[in-house]
């Protein structure tokens, strides 16, 4: 826990790649954490079952912002199925149940693994992913 705010996290927080409006989007959804005041809007452009593009806007702590940015890095270009799978994987990691190969798949998102020791912050790390889960079409 003694260096949770590593470079990956602070970088994505200070210089988010995906924090902007999205001109063309097929779905836009707000996610909030009342207790933290975190508030993001996730925009996705889904085409032929593929997340063709995505962005987010909003405000909140570094954890929520960086996590959303890292998430978009991971899922843009992926199929909905694959995004669902990564979503499930991320949740598994948060519960402290992911193994090393699974952490590898999560790439930079694995930087958030230690959040499982900070229950009050889990909501922040999960906010983007939860909103993604709610945005993906049901099947």
């Amino acid at each position: 826990m003694s260096n949770f705010y590593n470079e990956i996290l602070t970088d994505h927080n200070m210089h988010p790649v995906h924090k902007h409006e999205l001109a063309v989007c097929t779905c836009s959804r707000e996610g909030v954490n009342p207790s933290c005041g975190d508030d993001i809007t996730l925009n996705l452009r889904i085409e032929d079952g593929i997340i063709a593009d995505g962005s987010f806007t909003g405000s909140g702590c570094a954890v929520s912002q960086a996590s959303a940015d890292i998430m978009l890095d991971l899922v843009i270009g992926k199929s909905i199925d694959e995004a669902e799978r990564l979503h499930a994987l991320f949740m598994k990691m948060i519960r402290g149940e992911a193994d090393d190969s699974e952490l590898e798949e999560l790439d930079e998102a694995a930087a958030l693994a230690d959040i499982s020791h900070m229950p009050a912050r889990v909501k922040c790390a999960v906010l983007g992913w939860r909103t993604l889960g709610e945005s993906l079409p049901e099947r």
Binding site: M1, S2, N3, F4, Y5, E7, T10, D11, N13, M14, S35, C36, G37, S59, G60, C61, A62, V63, M118, R121, C124
Partner: protein, 405 residues
């Protein structure tokens, strides 16, 4: 003999590196308090008030002696004015529910300060809605101050209740409650004082202040959780209906009605928390032995160190006054570009416990135009080293978040 510093508080044996700066949320407990509660359960425990045997007499004495101690501690006129509750929140709800429901009519006004803790705000909001009364807000000045003039302007002939903390848990400034009480009474307004943050930090005398009600929590003043106090002027408590029903709060019960016990028992439904009361008694004794003069001096000194260090740290913005003399051990702040939750998490990485969020004062944060803030608060077990470690860490935060300075 207690030391009156960290050594009395076993949590610092368990975590010697802990820098605890969150006493405004809850205090740590000194050994005499922890031991008094254990001793009660080891030697004196029974259901108080109605027992006809020796042990129950001991339990009753333990409980009622605690009431007497509270009565002395806050200078009440009579022990009948001291009601034990669970916490300040329950005390405030009791007032709103019992006194409020009975006395507030449509179009009456209830005035609260904008910086009230939700516990001294929501009960009035709910009451106002129920009764069709108007809830009005007294707004603080830019240094977090409330003045008698502000109050005078805000009162109207319809203002039936004014609810104000003696010290806000965010701003940390002592409000002129005595003057407020005088102004209220001239106006026929009842004044409800939230003492959750004042009673642990300064001598509070209800008769000198002239307040009608005072609420506070044991757990913020070295006592265990689960015990709080409602003080009410006897004349007001006397006319109020009970709050909760059952247990020793009755006189006669029949199938179609009931009459109620005398004060203060009328307001203490169900089996009382004698163990908690004993703990509060021990906490009052602990504070009493230390003495408020020394306690205030120490807290003032710690506050000064904190605020001076903060003022030297770029990008740190203090909520309320920048003058240490205006803070009673409580300093809330923000750091430019860094979210309070991240700030608290970074402090935690250094073993420093501070609070971040809205501190149950969302209306104040909205009014100040900030989402949330960080709060550092000092108590008698803090020392200069705590403030140094805090300030050292404070200076690194923006850098650790990736900012160049």
């Amino acid at each position: 003999m207690p030391y009156f510093d960290k050594r009395d508080f076993p949590v610092f044996d368990a975590m010697p590196e802990l820098v605890y700066l969150d006493s405004t949320a809850t205090s740590q407990k000194p050994k005499p308090v922890i031991d008094a509660v254990s001793r009660y359960y080891r030697e004196e425990n029974a259901n108080p008030l109605r027992g006809l045997y020796g042990l129950a007499v001991k339990a009753t004495d333990a409980y009622e002696n605690a009431r007497a101690a509270v009565h002395d501690f806050i200078g009440a006129a009579s022990e009948r004015e001291i009601v034990f509750t669970r916490n300040a929140t329950e005390s405030l709800n009791l007032i709103a529910s019992s006194y409020g429901r009975e006395n507030i009519r449509q179009n009456d006004e209830i005035l609260v300060t904008i910086s009230e803790h939700h516990s001294n705000f929501l009960p009035w909001q709910v009451l106002a809605k129920e009764k069709g009364a108007r809830l009005k807000f007294l707004k603080c000045g830019k240094d977090g101050e409330y003045t008698p003039e502000m109050l005078e302007k805000a009162l109207t002939p319809r203002t039936k209740i004014f609810a104000a903390a003696q010290i806000s848990n965010v701003i940390g400034r002592l409000n002129p409650i005595k003057e407020f009480a005088e102004i209220c009474h001239k106006n026929g307004t009842v004044i409800v004082c939230d003492g959750a943050q004042s009673v642990p930090h300064i001598p509070v005398n209800v008769r000198e202040l002239g307040v009608d009600f005072l609420a506070f929590s044991g757990h913020k003043m070295f006592a265990p959780m689960g015990i709080g106090v409602l003080y009410g002027r006897e004349e007001l408590l006397e006319q109020m209906p009970p709050f909760l029903y059952g247990g020793e709060m009755i006189e006669y019960v029949t199938l179609c009605g009931a009459t109620f016990a005398e004060l203060p028992h009328k307001f203490e439904a169900g089996t009382v928390n004698a163990g908690g009361a004993v703990g509060l008694h021990a906490a009052i004794d602990y504070i009493g032995e230390f003495g408020f003069a020394k306690l205030e001096k120490r807290e003032k000194e710690l506050t000064r160190l904190l605020i001076e260090g903060m003022k030297e740290t770029p990008h740190v913005r203090i909520i309320g006054s920048e003058d240490p003399a205006d803070h009673c051990g409580i300093v809330s702040f923000t750091i430019d570009d860094v979210h309070p939750h991240d700030i608290a998490a970074i402090f935690d990485e250094s073993g420093i416990a501070v609070r971040a969020g809205h501190h149950c004062a969302q209306p104040l944060h909205k009014y100040l135009g900030v989402q949330s803030s960080v709060r550092a608060s000092a108590a008698l077990y803090n020392d200069r080293r705590d403030t140094e470690l805090f300030l050292e860490c404070l200076k690194t935060i923006r850098r650790r978040m990736g900012y160049s300075e």
